[in-house]
C-alpha cells in the first residue's frame, strides 16, 4: 500500500485558519490500511480540528466524507453534491488523491492532511515498512525477492557495503541490511552462485529519472 502519516496538527490548523466550512475527505484504500486517512481517522481529525477552533472562540464546520478511493475520477465525482457548501477541501488521501481533487475542482483550495511516505507492506499490526520505489524495472527475480533499490540505504545492486553490521545497516541499528536479507534468501533457495553475477548499472529512465511517468493501455483507454 501507499503509506502516509497525518501532518502535525499545528500545520493543519494553520492552513485551515481562514475557513469556516470545509470538506474533509478520507479514502477507503491505502490510507485506511495504514490508519492514516480512513473513515476513523477522518472522524478523529474532524473532532480535533473543531476543538482547536472552538478553543479560540471560532467555529469550523466539517463535512466528513470517505470515498472508496481518490485516485479514480468516478469516485471524486461523488464530491460534486457537497463541494459548493465548502470553502476548502482537506484530503486525507495520499498525494495522488489530493491532486485528483484539485484537478476536478479547479477553483476550490485543496489541502493535504497527510504526508505521503512510501510504498510498503505491513510487517505486523501497526508497523509498515518501505518495500518498493517504483523503479520501473523490477529485479526481484535476481535478488531472491528482496529489493536492493528500496531497502538498501545506498541502493547498491552489488552490495553489501562495508558498513553492514550484524545484519543491520550502518545508518540505523534497527534497519535491516538489504544485502544480508538477499544473501539469506539466496542461501535458502540454494542459489548462492547468483551472488557473484554482477548486476549492471541501472537505466533510471524507467524510474523517475525519465520524468513523470504514464501508462497507456491501448486496449482499455477510451
Amino acid at each position: 500500500m501507499i503509506t502516509a502519516e497525518r501532518k502535525p496538527m499545528e500545520e493543519l490548523i494553520e492552513c485551515l485558519r481562514p475557513y469556516h466550512r470545509i470538506l474533509l475527505v478520507g479514502c477507503n484504500e491505502c490510507v485506511t490500511v495504514c490508519s492514516a486517512g480512513g473513515r476513523k481517522e477522518v472522524g478523529i481529525l474532524s473532532s480535533a480540528l473543531q476543538m482547536a477552533f472552538m478553543k479560540e472562540g471560532k467555529t469550523l464546520e466539517v463535512k466528513e466524507i470517505t470515498l472508496e478511493r481518490q485516485c479514480d475520477p468516478e469516485y471524486i465525482e461523488e464530491l460534486v453534491t457537497h463541494i459548493d457548501q465548502a470553502e476548502a477541501v482537506m484530503s486525507m488521501a495520499c498525494g495522488c488523491g489530493v491532486q485528483e481533487i484539485a484537478r476536478r475542482f479547479k477553483t476550490k483550495p485543496v489541502f493535504p492532511a497527510v504526508n505521503t511516505t512510501f510504498m510498503g507492506a505491513s510487517e505486523r499490526q501497526g508497523v509498515w515498512a518501505e518495500r518498493c520505489q517504483g523503479c520501473g524495472e523490477c529485479v526481484l527475480g535476481l535478488t531472491g525477492g528482496v529489493c536492493p533499490i528500496a531497502r538498501c540505504s545506498k541502493r547498491l545492486l552489488n552490495g553489501p557495503c562495508g558498513g553492514s553490521t550484524n545484519g543491520k545497516c550502518e545508518v540505523d541499528p534497527d534497519m535491516d541490511c538489504a544485502w544480508q536479507l538477499i544473501w539469506d534468501r539466496l542461501k535458502a533457495l540454494g542459489i548462492e552462485d547468483r551472488y557473484e553475477e554482477n548486476i549492471a548499472a541501472k537505466d533510471w529512465r524507467t524510474g523517475r529519472g525519465g520524468g513523470p511517468r504514464k501508462i497507456i493501455r491501448e486496449d482499455l483507454a477510451k
Binding site: 541502493r155 553489501p160 562495508g162 548499472a201
Partner: protein
Amino acid sequence: MKTESVLEKVFASGELAVTSECGPPRGAVPEKIIEKAKMLQGYVDAVNVTDNQTAMVRMSSFAACVFIRQLGMSPILQMVTRDRNRLAMQADILGAYSHGIDNILCLSGDHPHFGDHPMAANVHDIDSVQFVQMIRDMRDKGRFQGGDDILNPPKMYIGAAANPFADPFELRVARLAKKIKAGTDFIQTQCIYNLDKFEKWMEGVRDRGLHEKVKIMAGITPMKSVGMAKYMKNRVPGMDVPDEIIKRMAGVPKEKQPEEGIKISVEAIERLKAVEGVKGFHIMAIEWEEKVPEIAERAGLLPRPKIDL
C-alpha cells in the same frame, strides 16, 4: 602494463608497495593539503585523497589531487558514488587524467546520515562494482558508459576497497571476487587490528586464487590513544578492534599511548608481510600524517623505489 601508474610499476617490480592518505581541508585552503602531502613525500609510492569522507564536505578530492600532483607525487583519486552521477564521474575522470592523475579508488561512500549534510539527496546512480566496470571499459574499450567513443581514453589504474571485517563475513571473499570480475587492479583494505580474522579472509582469498588476480594492500591505522581505540571499536561500522588492543593501549600511561599505537602498527605490518597475497600496505594516519615516515621506517619499508612520474 595497463597504465603508466607509478603504483602499478611498483607492484610489477615485485616490491611491497606503500601508500598513505590525506584528508582535504574543510575550506579553500590548499596549503593544508600541500603541507600534509609534503610530510609523506619520499616515504610512500602514492597518496590517496579522500572524497568527502564521512559525508562531510571538504575540498574535492580531484582538486586536492591536482595540488599533490604538482608537487611531483602520485595521487590516488578516491571517488564515492554517493555524490555524483555517472556523467559527473566520467567527466571528473577525464579531467583528473588530463592533470596527470592516473590512480583511482572506487567507493560507495559513507551514508549522508553520518555527515554534515544529512538532508542531501543520496545519488548512487551506480554502485562501486559498476563504477569499477565503467572505468575499465573507459580504459580498455575506449568507450563511455553510454557507449560512445572517448578521445584519448584515460588509462586509470583501478582500485577498490575491501572490508574483511564487515558482515556477513562469509560474503567478504565473494564480494572481492565480484570486484575483481568487474576489473579491479588493486585493493586497499579497511584498517586491520584483528590479524587472525584478516588471515582467515586471506585464506579464503587464496583458496580461490584471487590474490593473483588483484594486488591486495593491507590497511593500517596507528592508534593515538585508548580513547581512539574504543571509539573505533564501538562507533565505527565495519571496524573490528579486538579487546587485546584496547587492553594494550589502556595498559600504558597517556603520554606513552601514541608510541604504543605505533608499535602495534609496526608489529602488524611485520606479521602481515609474511601473509601470502599481501602486496603492500596502505597506512592511514588520520590527522597524524607526520608519523607515517616513522612507521614506514620502523617497519622496514624504506627506502621507496625511485620511479619517475
